[in-house]
Amino acid sequence: MKVVPSRSSEWVKPVMPKKPASAIIEIERVSQVFQTSARKDHVALSDISLTIEEGAFVSILGPSGCGKSTLLYVVGGFVNPTSGSAKIKGRTITGPGPDRGPVFQEFALFPWKTVLGNVMYGPRQQGVRTTEAEAQSRALIEMVGLKGYENFYPKELSGGMKQRVALARTLAYHPEVLLMDEPFGALDAHTRTRLQNDLLNIWERDRKTVLFVTHSVDEAVFLSDKVVMMSKSPGRIREVIDIDLPRPRRRSELLLDPRYQKYVVDIERMFDEVDETGALL
C-alpha cells in the first residue's frame, strides 16, 4: 500500500514574488538549457525566480539532476544563464567575484600549495600584504580546527580536513555570500555530522548569507532558515519552506524536537514525490 504524501501542511508556503528590503540575491526567471546532442536539449533550469535575504542560510534541496548545482553556478557567475538574470545587491552577475565564495564537494584545493598557501591565496589576490594575509590565514586555520597543519599539503589531509581548508580559503577573502555545492557529500557520515556542527558554529558568529546545495533532508533542515525544494526535468522550484526552529541549534536538542522531526518527515515525503514525478517524465 502506498502512502499518499500530504502537501497541505500549514507551514508550506508558495514562492513569494515580493521583494524584501534586505534581499541580497535576486534570481529572476533564470532558465538554463544545455544542448546534449544535435536533436535534444536538456532543460536544467526552467524559469527559476528566487530571492535570498541577507544573512539567511538557504538550502537548495532536490534529487540529482534537478539543476540545483547549476543554479548555484549561475549565482557564482561560473555559467551564464540561457535566459533571465541573477543579481547580487542589485547588480547583475556577469562573472565570478570575491563577493561570492564557492566551496565545492571536490574541495578543489591547489595541490601545489600548503594549507597556509591555499588559505592565503584569496587575501594575497585581494592585495593584502603578505604578513597581514598570513596572520589572518593562521587565525582562520585555527578557527576551522586545523592549527598545526599550516605547512601540510592537501594530499596529506583527510577529506574532512580538506573541506575545512576549502572553507577557510573561501572565508579568507570575506565573501558576502557563501556558495556551498554539496560540500559534505564526499564525506563519511560521522565527519559530515561534525562538519555540519562546526559550520553552524562558524556561521552563527557573523551570519553570512549561505546558499547551500544538498540532497540530504536532515542536513537541509538542521542548517537552514529556508529550504528550497526543487523538482527535476525540467529543474523547477517546487516549494520554499521556512524552517522555524530556534537558534543557536544544537543537534542533541534538535533531534528530540518534534518540530524538527515534522519538518524532516514532511520534506522527505515531498522529496519522494518530486523524485517520482521526475522519474516518470
Partner: protein
C-alpha cells in the same frame, strides 16, 4: 621500510646492467668476438677513466652538453608556452593543431641536411635539431595537462579575484606541472639520442664525432668510450630531472 624497499629496487635495477656487462665479458672471454673488435669491458672502463682526465675529451663532452642543454631548453620554453596557449585559446589551438599533426610524425633527422646548409657545421644546426625533436613530446603533454585542469580549481581562483589572464600562470601552469614534467622527461631522453646522432652524421667535435672517428680508424676501444659516456650523461641528467620533479611536485598525490 621505505628505504629498504628503495634499496631492493635499486638492486633489482642494477642486476640487468651487471648481466649485460657479464655477457659482454663472456663474449670476449669465450672467443665469440676478437678482443680487437670487441674490447673487454674492464679495458673500456679504464680507458674511459683515462680519457675523462684529458682536456680534449672534456672539450668533446662540453660541446655535446652545450648542444643538448641549449636544444632541450629551447624545446621546453617553446613546448610549454605553445602547449599552454593552445589549451587556453581555441583560436591558437586551431592554428597549432594542424602544424603539430603534420610535423610531429616527421623524422626530424631528415631536416638535418637542410639545417647544415642553413646553419653550418657548428652548434646552431645541432641545437635546432635537438630542439625540433624534443619539442613535440613536451608540447603535447603540456597541452594535454593544461586542457584537463579541473574546472573547479579555475573557478575557485576566479572567485578569489584572479583576473582571467593571470589564471594561466597561477592555476593552469602549476596544475599542468605533472604532465609537463613527464613530457620533459621524454624530451630529455630524445635530446640525448638526437645530439649524439647529429654529431655522428656531420660534426667536427662532440661525443658522436669521437665515435665515428674511432670507428673509421678501427679503434674499437675509443668507439665504446663515447657510447658509455653518453649513457652515463643521460643517467645523471635523468636523476637531476627526477630531483627537480619531486621538488616541484611535492604537493601532488601522484608524485
Amino acid at each position: 621500510m621505505t628505504s629498504q624497499l628503495r634499496s631492493t629496487s635499486i638492486m633489482l635495477g642494477l642486476a640487468p646492467i651487471v648481466l649485460v656487462i657479464a655477457l659482454w665479458q663472456s663474449l670476449v672471454s669465450f672467443g665469440f668476438a676478437p678482443a680487437v673488435l670487441l674490447p673487454p669491458p674492464g679495458y673500456v672502463f679504464s680507458r674511459l677513466l683515462q680519457q675523462l682526465m684529458t682536456w680534449t675529451f672534456q672539450q668533446e663532452i662540453a660541446a655535446t652538453l652545450i648542444r643538448l642543454f641549449a636544444g632541450f631548453a629551447i624545446a621546453v620554453v617553446l613546448g610549454v608556452s605553445i602547449g599552454i596557449a593552445a589549451a587556453a585559446s581555441p583560436g591558437i589551438n586551431a592554428v597549432v593543431r594542424p602544424i603539430v599533426r603534420v610535423l610531429a610524425p616527421l623524422p626530424k633527422v631528415a631536416l638535418y641536411p637542410a639545417l647544415l646548409l642553413l646553419l653550418g657545421f657548428g652548434h646552431g644546426s645541432k641545437i635546432t635539431l635537438v630542439a625540433a625533436d624534443a619539442l613535440f613530446p613536451i608540447l603535447l603533454s603540456t597541452y594535454y595537462g593544461a586542457s584537463t585542469v579541473e574546472q573547479k580549481l579555475i573557478w575557485s581562483a576566479m572567485a578569489a579575484g584572479t583576473p582571467r589572464y593571470e589564471i594561466l600562470f597561477k592555476v593552469v601552469l602549476p596544475a599542468a606541472m605533472p604532465s609537463i614534467l613527464t613530457g620533459c622527461r621524454i624530451g630529455l631522453v630524445i635530446s640525448c639520442i638526437v645530439v649524439f646522432l647529429a654529431e655522428m652524421i656531420t660534426s667536427t667535435d662532440g661525443l658522436g664525432h669521437v665515435l665515428v672517428t674511432a670507428a673509421r680508424t678501427f679503434q674499437a676501444v675509443d668507439m665504446f668510450v663515447p657510447l658509455i659516456t653518453i649513457s652515463l650523461l643521460g643517467l645523471i641528467l635523468n636523476v637531476l630531472l627526477g630531483a627537480v620533479r619531486s621538488y616541484l611536485l611535492r604537493g601532488f598525490p601522484e608524485a
